[in-house]
Amino acid sequence: MSIIVSSIGQGLLWAVLGVALFLTFRILDFPDMTVEGSFPLGAATAVTMIAHGVNPYLATLAAFVVGTLAGLTTGLLYTKGRIPILLAGILVMTASLSINLRIMGSANISLLNQKSIFSSAFLQHLPKYFDSVVVGFIIITMITLGLVFFLQTELGQAFIATGDNPTMAQSIGIKTDRMTIMGLMLSNGLIAFGGAVIAQNNGYADINMGIGIIVIALASIIIGEVAFGDLSLNERLVAVIVGSILYRLVLLAVLQLGFSTNDLNLISAVVLAVAMMLPRLRHALKLDHVIKKGVITHD
């Protein structure tokens, strides 16, 4: 039972990444590799600050701000520098590896005996793993409500239109470059924020913790879409959160089969690839037909 609670808690915490990546991957309609840099950047910022005695809540917010700077850099390279988005993201991701080392001063910082956002007395009194569920739920609820509000504002609608049809957006006076930069800043700010929270949950920040992050975030988006099909925009954000939890449960099942945590990146990639191919496979293998046939008594 407790490992399922743990999976749900992890799913809720990691859902921040899925929702953040949704802003660029689904709304602006491009894959932003910056997240593999901004995730450990947020972790490094928060953990280093906490280790130097800064209030953990303040440190987590600082991680958000630093993440927006990473997004700003990618945005400027892409819109003003005309560097293709994939490459712009990879450049910032690579650069932030060095920056993270500069921030932390070493490849790994532990939070042992330090206060974090998980050390409040209330959370300490909960049964094991319930602290991540509570913190994860509060954080993802606040972020999702914030995004739901934002996307329904005039500015949010202009942001959506930019990803949907930039030519049309420009023709009605939307500054698409500015919208793109704003989306990248918000997305990477949230990713870094997520990095800060997850590092505190793990109890350490590591220089390599960004590897494979984009696949995990994508997996929650795609699994949510495959599981729920056609949804409104607000519902899709919730589907990403559920997708993130489902992804953790799939990982749990796979680990139960005897795979080790060393295989996680391979498993993540396979899960994502299968989820992305599922609509095609369903068609090719006539799965719907087979399922229906099982229900209907005569053809």
Binding site: Q152, I160, D164, N165, Q170, S171, I172, G173
Partner: protein, 251 residues
């Protein structure tokens, strides 16, 4: 005559090895003009539109708006006064957003977009139902439909409504009925004429349909090799026929 709203003086636009797409072009647009634009492929019609809209840099010459030089202003800043309907139905609307959402977006042309709620109220929807009804193609029953699921004719009608939602000082119609079937095309052309005349819009309309060019508008220009070879209005325009127009295409 009063002074022009938009004025192009000695405009030169080049591509590649100094090939002149627009060649010392002079053109004045007066308030209330509904100008049909004719010309063969490559005559410079689309380039003329892109130059006015600010999507192409000019090599030399000036473009002014109410006497103010706007040659070097950005395309986005010009959308405050210039609206455009594209030829391709996919270009003018956001496919994953609904008809109502697209109209709301267009309503903010020329204004700052802030963190105010977008304001898609019941009243707004009722207003949009009225607005879309005049196009006569059931758009009013599909306000909550994603525009990607509309027919080409409906999308073009929506694009037109979006372009005119905030009254522009100049409306650019870039063969906006060309991608539609003859019946839908005629219907949209009719609605276009209706709206342009009723709301006293100033409009430029590219068309390859000579009959439309003769039938609609108060002024007609023909472009050839980057220059305006014919510019007629009112009675002079009424006296034209298709055979006469074709002679200018050869020049």
């Amino acid at each position: 005559m009063t002074s022009p709203v938009f004025s192009l003086q000695d405009i030169v636009v080049t591509v590649g090895d100094n090939v002149r797409i627009l060649d010392q072009l002079n053109f004045d647009i007066y308030a209330g003009d509904f100008i049909t634009v004719l010309g063969t492929n490559g005559a410079g019609k689309s380039t003329l539109f892109n130059t006015i809209a600010g999507n192409l840099p000019v090599a030399s010459g000036t473009l002014s708006h109410n006497g103010r030089n706007i040659t070097n202003t950005t395309a986005v800043s010009r959308t405050n006064t210039i609206a455009r309907v594209f030829q391709d139905p996919k270009m003018g609307t956001a496919p994953r957003m609904t008809v109502a959402e697209n109209l709301l977006l267009a309503e903010k042309r020329g204004q700052k977009r802030t963190l105010r709620p977008r304001g898609l109220s019941k009243d707004k929807l009722a207003e949009y139902a009225q607005l879309t009804k005049v196009m006569g193609n059931n758009l009013d029953t599909r306000l909550q439909t994603a525009t990607g699921d509309l027919s080409g004719g409906q999308r073009q009608a929506l694009s037109f409504l979006m372009a005119t939602r905030v009254k522009p000082e100049l409306l650019l119609l870039d063969e906006h009925t060309a991608a539609l079937d003859p019946k839908t095309s005629e219907q949209l052309m009719h609605a276009t004429n209706d709206q342009v005349t009723r709301n006293h819009l100033t409009a430029l309309m590219i068309t390859h349909n000579l009959a439309d060019a003769l039938k609609y508008g108060n002024r007609l220009i023909i472009l050839n090799a980057g220059k305006i070879v014919l510019d007629v209005r009112d009675e002079e325009k009424a006296a034209l026929d298709e055979a006469k127009i074709l002679t200018y295409f050869m020049a």
